[in-house]
Subunit: 225 residues, 2 copies
DNA sequence: GAAACAATCTAACATTCGTTAGAATGTTTG
DNA sequence: CAAACATTCTAACGAATGTTAGATTGTTTC
């Protein structure tokens, strides 16, 4: 009575999403796209792969409807096809962190001190930033900052930090964030600033994690459809 | 400064979860396991595949830490390795439904009338069931009912329905549910009962969807660790 | 319209994966 | 301890996938 051929087709469709998530390179591209839309060229450079390979992976992601494209002049910009995709990525990554001991090990190896931010931690950080008790810096490239950033954060790309030390308070707490727990930009910023004597720490949240926790995000340049 | 080999290993780990979700058969097995733990034999029969193939797929799921096993006599029982796995499955499926037009088509083809249950719908159903205004029947096999079921639901496996018609009220609304939107058991139950003149409809929720929406679940037989 | 450029398409290869079938392991029953 | 049974392991095949390189399409600039 049950068990029609339809049922199999349904699982097949869902598996298309799974297949799209089955490659490390594609996951890295998704992780990059959580920060905002980017051209193929930019993505390939950030993921350190050949443009043609990036194009092939992006094609796979597009066929699974996880990303959309937009043409602007010579460039084609890719973006996640919805906020739920960023939530999907975080859910899958979270599951991996919770269930794969090896991933926990790799994470521990990478992020010497966790500096994780949980629940009330975010609220209190937001409050302190509002009052000016801490300075929140976004160490990603300016473009990503403009696509969306934490409230009260100021843009301070890693590449420019050494030249802009005078803009930072030597006597107040500084909190740096970047693309998320896997991103090393804020790690580098912390290393650089602590060496100069600043009171700085890192949070694991990127804009995606922050937003997924229900916290507000600000946008500098309006561009999203 | 950034871009260590560690980063790649992290995405690789997450991709293990993606790979596990990349096969229709494995997704079907996960979907079955959301209902509660089952032996390899049972799973293979339910998914209509060879036991040896089921074993191979379950091995892959186990290696991705999505399922755990338990031995009881001759049988080995598989279960999801946490509630978050059931949420993961629902998130991925939800994404597929939202983003894959073809999946929406297949769903429409299969579930002639959606009978979806959204937000307040669940609360009001629970209230009506509590007052006795509707009779909620769980048409899955008894074992799955015992592992967890909707509050106020009574077990009425599809196979037994025709012999137990006298237990059902001819003058009140009946709501049938089974394993979730992809499961056809409740569809069959509705067809069977409407033909007998009962006022019956189906809801797409299974126990997993119900619980994921924050609704309470009851357990008959205590067994979970 | 030609040159420069971004991105895609195509073909080819090595690798991995899904599936099948036969052999092996571990458990219970007599 | 032998027989029956559930499950896993191993080997093998074809299909699908990731990667690389070369050819092609579409856009801008001059």
């Amino acid at each position: 009575m049950s068990s029609s051929p339809l049922k199999g087709r349904l699982y097949e469709q869902v598996a298309r999403i799974g297949k799209a998530l089955a490659s490390p390179k594609r996951l890295e591209l998704i992780d990059l796209l959580v920060q905002g839309e980017k051209s193929v060229e930019t993505l390939a450079a950030a993921a350190d792969i050949d443009i043609r390979l990036a194009s092939a992976h992006l094609r796979a992601l597009r066929e699974a409807r996880l990303v959309d494209t937009r043409r602007e002049g010579k460039h084609i910009y890719y973006r996640l096809s919805g906020d739920d995709i960023s939530r999907l990525w975080i859910t899958v990554r979270r599951t991996a962190e919770d269930h794969l001991a090896e991933l926990r090990l790799a994470l521990a190896e990478m992020v010497t001190k966790p500096h994780e931010l949980h629940a009330e931690g975010r609220e209190s950080l937001l409050e302190k930033a509002r009052k000016g008790e801490v300075v929140v810096i976004d160490v990603r490239p300016v473009g990503e900052f403009q696509c969306g950033h934490l409230p009260f954060a100021r843009s301070m790309p890693l590449a420019e930090i050494s030249d802009r030390l005078s803009e930072l308070p030597p006597d107040r707490d500084i909190v740096a964030y970047c693309r998320g727990p896997f991103c090393l930009l804020s790690e580098d910023a912390v290393a650089l600033l602590s060496a100069r004597g600043f009171r700085v720490r890192r949070i694991a949240d990127g804009v995606g994690e922050w937003a997924a926790a229900g916290m507000p995000v600000e946008r500098t340049k309006e561009e999203a459809a």
